[in-house]
Each structure stands twice: as structure tokens, then as C-alpha cells.
């Protein structure tokens, strides 16, 4: 069964709006996706019928909100195939999830130890490790990529040593679209007992995610990049790690007993959730993942592959365009540059024609610079994009190039 995109687009009210007098073509999905009514209405329903602070309340609304909240946690756990709901920590998003892990690993990483990342990481999965290494006098090692934007697995093999304390890598690159062979990478790390954190920010909306299958130790993602609300995301952590690690923030539901001299902490997952949680965010995220599930992530993948292939073919035929990121395994992200034309100029003119793309470093300055560039234009696709929109985009692009040259 394939998707009825025309039908499905109606779920996304914003797609009907005009931008600069033109119909919006939203190709900035890697930055954030638009939200279906199912998500918007879920949030509204929560505040209209169910809103309350969760946990410990004896009254009906509190109980209702708590049940929904914990049910959503279970849903997220099963969605990414976690072993149990205890392994699902709600965070603000990917960036916070990575920062939590980096902060908790402070005491497990010492002078001379090594942390491994890849050359294609987003700042959010780079700077926390860099700063941790700096603080602990550890060494940040960067696994190189080839000119197609694929991870150098041979280099990786050699770089995993007895000094490595953590390997953090993106599931999918937000600049290149590369899908990394995470399963394989975990196997290599596992041999030397090295924990692996996977930055899944660009994966959850596009690929099936199975943390148990991947066997990774941590997995991070943001709801807002998968049709869910802003301000909420997930840190999956293997129970054995979460048990072992100390709390991150203090206060609220994460404590058990408190006196002025001492505090004991609550069980998983609450140990890592300090303060009133973002219940509406969590319920919105659940609605978003259910939306994807209902459409079928396989169908989503097929559809986005079709968009990517079509757009890639069209751009390849256009003079002066160079595509950045040509990995065999790729999804939903198309970065490129145009000879002699600044990405910012292209982005500005495309916007005038209603096409929203992102330009610049995409919060991943090192990988962009490694291609000798100071920016790319990035078109990134979502479930609701169409082949016709790709046509509009390519025509607008040609017009812009003509204007600028």
C-alpha cells in the first residue's frame, strides 16, 4: 500500500498557506517538520480536558494526566523497540539528550581517555563531547568520511582502542543525508566494550528505529523533527547504564525522600526527570509517532526515496550544480552548491518564490568546511512533499541562478 499524499497533505494545515504570495513549498524538514492536525488537536484536547500536574496527585485529573503521560512513555518505548518504558527519559530534545549523557560521563572519562565522534556530526553531538574532553583532558577523535560522505569503516576499526570511552555518531547526517551503518558500528564498539550513543534526530521521521536491534547504549531524538511538538524529545538509555549513572538535575518527581542533610532518589525513569514534565509535549509526540506508524514508516521511506531520487536526478542535470553527499545509503536530505553563487542568495530568491530551504552550515560547520565550503543549500523532504513540489523547486532554482549569474 502506498501513501495517498494528496489526502495526507490535508492533515497539515500550514501547507495550505501562502508565502510571499506563492503556495508554500516546505523543504526545510530537517530543521523542523510541520505538524498534522492529529498532533495539534491532541495538545488542544489535553489543555481542554485533561490538564493537570502528574504523579502523586490523588484527584481525578492528576490521575488522568499521569496515566496518559505514562502510557505515552510506553508507546515511545515500543515504537523504538526499547526493552522497557524505564529506558525512556523525556528531555527537551536531541541536544539536551546528548548533553545529559556527556555530563553523566564526566566521571567515567579521564585524562588521556578518548571520545570518538564522526566527521559529519551536528554541533549538538560534537560540542558537548569536545567540551567534556577539554574539561577532562581527554582526546576527541574524529572518524573521517570519504568524498561521498560515507563513514570510513576501516578507519573506525583502527580508531576504537582500549582508550576509547564513548563513541557518538549520527544515525543520519543532517547535511549529507548519509545513513550510517550504526548496527555494524555498534558491533565494532561492543567488542571492546565501548558504549555507543546514536544521534537519531534525522532518523526517527524517516527510518524504522530499533534500539534493541541496533544494540546501542543511548539513542537521542527530538519530537519536532518527526511531526511532533517543539520542546520535547527522548533519551533512550540501556537500563544498566541508567541505573549506574547519577541524576542530572535535581528537584520535583526525581527525589524519593528529602531532608536538609540528605536526599534519596526515585527509580527509573523518574531519576532523570526533574521538575514538572512537559505532559502536553509528550502527548503530542505520542500522537506524532502514532501518525507515522499509521502511515507506515516503510511507505514513508519509499515515498521520500522517490522524492530524493527525482530531485537528485533533476539537479544532476542542471548546470553548475554540485551535490554534496552522495552516499549509497541516503535519505530525505539533498545538499548542494551552485558554482559561483552564494547559498544565501539562492535561499533568499527561492523564498520569494515560496520555496523554503535552509542555507549555510546547518549547525554542522566542520563537515561543510571539510568539503571546502562555507555553506550549502539544503532541501530536505517530509512525508507530505510531492514530486510536483520538486518541480516547482527546481524551476525556481533555475530562475534564481539565472538572475544571480
Amino acid at each position: 500500500m502506498s501513501l495517498n499524499i494528496g489526502q495526507l497533505r490535508k492533515d497539515f494545515p500550514i501547507l495550505a498557506r501562502k508565502v510571499n504570495g506563492k503556495r508554500l513549498v516546505y523543504f526545510d524538514n530537517a530543521a523542523t517538520t510541520q505538524k498534522p492536525v492529529q498532533v495539534i488537536e491532541r495538545i488542544k484536547h489535553y489543555y481542554t480536558e485533561e490538564n493537570s500536574n502528574v504523579h502523586r496527585g490523588v484527584h481525578h485529573l492528576s490521575q488522568l494526566a499521569t496515566d496518559k503521560y505514562e502510557h505515552a512513555r510506553q508507546f515511545v518505548a515500543s515504537y523504538i523497540h526499547a526493552g522497557s518504558a524505564k529506558e525512556i527519559i523525556f528531555t527537551r530534545g536531541t541536544t539536551e539528550s546528548v548533553n545529559v549523557v556527556a555530563s553523566l560521563f564526566q566521571h567515567l572519562i579521564g585524562a588521556g581517555d578518548e571520545v570518538l565522534i564522526t566527521a559529519m556530526e551536528h554541533h549538538s553531538n560534537l560540542v558537548p563531547w569536545q567540551q567534556l574532553c577539554r574539561q577532562q583532558q581527554a582526546v576527541l577523535k574524529v572518524v573521517p568520511i570519504n568524498e561521498k560522505g560515507e563513514l570510513d569503516m576501516t578507519a573506525l576499526k583502527n580508531m576504537i582502542t582500549s582508550k576509547t570511552r564513548m563513541f557518538a555518531l549520527a544515525h543520519v547526517s543532517n547535511v549529507l543525508g548519509t545513513i550510517n551503518p550504526v548496527g555494524e558500528a555498534v558491533k565494532l564498539a561492543r567488542k571492546k566494550n565501548i558504549p555507543v550513543l546514536v544521534d537519531g534526530a534525522q532518523a526517527v521521521a524517516h527510518l524504522p528505529v530499533d534500539v534493541t536491534g541496533l544494540d546501542c547504549d543511548f539513542y537521542a531524538f527530538s519530537a519536532h523533527k518527526a511531526y511532533g511538538p517543539m520542546g520535547i524529545g527522548v533519551l533512550y538509555g540501556k537500563e544498566e547504564w541508567l541505573k549506574k549513572l547519577p541524576p542530572y538535575q535535581f528537584g520535583g518527581e526525581m527525589v524519593d525522600q528529602v531532608s536538609f542533610s540528605e536526599t534519596t532518589f526515585n527509580n527509573l525513569p523518574y531519576k532523570f526527570e526533574a521538575g514538572t514534565p512537559n505532559v502536553s509535549g509528550v502527548l503530542g509526540m505520542e500522537a506524532a509517532l502514532k501518525y507515522i506508524e499509521e502511515k507506515g514508516i516503510g511507505n514513508v521511506r519509499d515515498h521520500e526515496d522517490e522524492l530524493l531520487d527525482f530531485a537528485t536526478r533533476k539537479l544532476s542535470k542542471t548546470e553548475g550544480i554540485k551535490i554534496i553527499g552522495e552516499a549509497r545509503e541516503k535519505t530525505a536530505v539533498l545538499s548542494f552548491v551552485v558554482n559561483g553563487v552564494h547559498p544565501y542568495d539562492l535561499g533568499t530568491l527561492l523564498d520569494q518564490m515560496g520555496v523554503a530551504v535552509r542555507t549555510g552550515y546547518h549547525c554542522a560547520q566542520p563537515v561543510v568546511e571539510s568539503f571546502g565550503l562555507t555553506g550549502t543549500v539544503r532541501a530536505s523532504f517530509g512525508i507530505y512533499n510531492t514530486l510536483e513540489e520538486v518541480d516547482v523547486f527546481v524551476d525556481a532554482l533555475k530562475k534564481s541562478i539565472a538572475l544571480l549569474k
Binding site: V54, H55, R56, V58, S62, Q63, T66, D67, E70
Partner: protein
């Protein structure tokens, strides 16, 4: 009576109440009547965590049957605890491990069944099963 039959009895008992007030009044009565746990078990060791009110629970094996006693400082919780002990006390660990806990659902106290409920019913039921499991392991060892 089997556990199943005892649950059925409770369900019938509650079926005569028409509104919540009578139900709670009865629960409160039960709570007041609950044979208290031996004072020496009212310590942190026997405290069940996860409840807003404090619940102490003790179990021992007598002639292959589990004798469960419990207490709480809140009387409604005590009423619920009383129903639990009435239904489950006096059965073998095997029987308890096989049983499901459905009656609270049916007697219109469904709210109290939620795993996240502040009264910690979930924790009490876990505790009962845990006791049963421990006794089962112990007796298996003996019989080895």
C-alpha cells in the same frame, strides 16, 4: 474458596452499593476493622514505597499457605489493603502467583487500579507476588 471465588464474593458484596458514597463508607468500615499488623512489622523494612499513605505489609508461610497482614495510616488505603489480604491471604505461593487481580476493577474502584495511582496499589500487588515468589523459591530449594 479459591482466590477466584473470593474475588467473586467481594464483587457481589460491592454490587449492592448504588453510589460511590456507600462504597467508600463500606471501604472505610473495612479499613477500621482490618486486623492490625503486628506492631513489630510497622517499620521501614516493611513499608511499601510508591504510596502517598504509608502501607506496611508482612507475609509468612504457615503450612504451605501465605498469611498476609497489612496496615496503612490512611483508612481508605487500609480498606483496600483489607480487601487484598482477605482475597489473597491463606493461599499457597503457587496459587497467588497464578492469580490475576481483577476484582477492584469490577467493584467500581477502577481508578484505584491504575499503575500510576498515588495509593500504590500496583506496588502492593507487586509486593504480594514478590513474597509469593520468594516463598516458592525457598520451598523449591528445600524439596531439591
Amino acid at each position: 474458596m479459591t482466590i477466584q471465588e473470593k474475588q467473586q464474593a467481594v464483587i457481589e458484596e460491592f454490587s449492592i452499593f448504588e453510589d460511590w458514597l456507600d462504597k467508600y463508607a463500606y471501604l472505610i468500615e473495612l479499613g477500621k476493622e482490618l486486623p492490625l499488623i503486628d506492631e513489630k512489622y510497622k517499620t521501614n523494612q516493611f513499608l511499601i514505597s510508591g504510596c502517598q499513605s504509608r502501607v506496611w505489609m508482612h507475609a509468612e508461610l504457615k503450612d504451605g499457605k501465605m498469611i498476609i497482614t497489612a496496615d496503612s495510616d490512611a483508612v481508605i488505603t487500609k480498606g483496600i489493603v483489607s480487601l487484598l489480604t482477605r482475597v489473597f491471604s491463606g493461599f499457597s505461593p503457587d496459587e497467588i502467583l497464578e492469580a490475576d487481580f481483577v476484582f477492584l476493577n469490577t467493584i467500581g474502584l477502577k481508578d484505584h487500579l491504575s499503575p500510576t495511582r498515588a495509593n500504590g496499589l500496583q506496588s502492593m500487588m507487586k509486593q504480594i507476588k514478590l513474597y509469593a515468589k520468594v516463598f516458592q523459591l525457598k520451598s523449591n530449594k528445600k524439596s531439591e
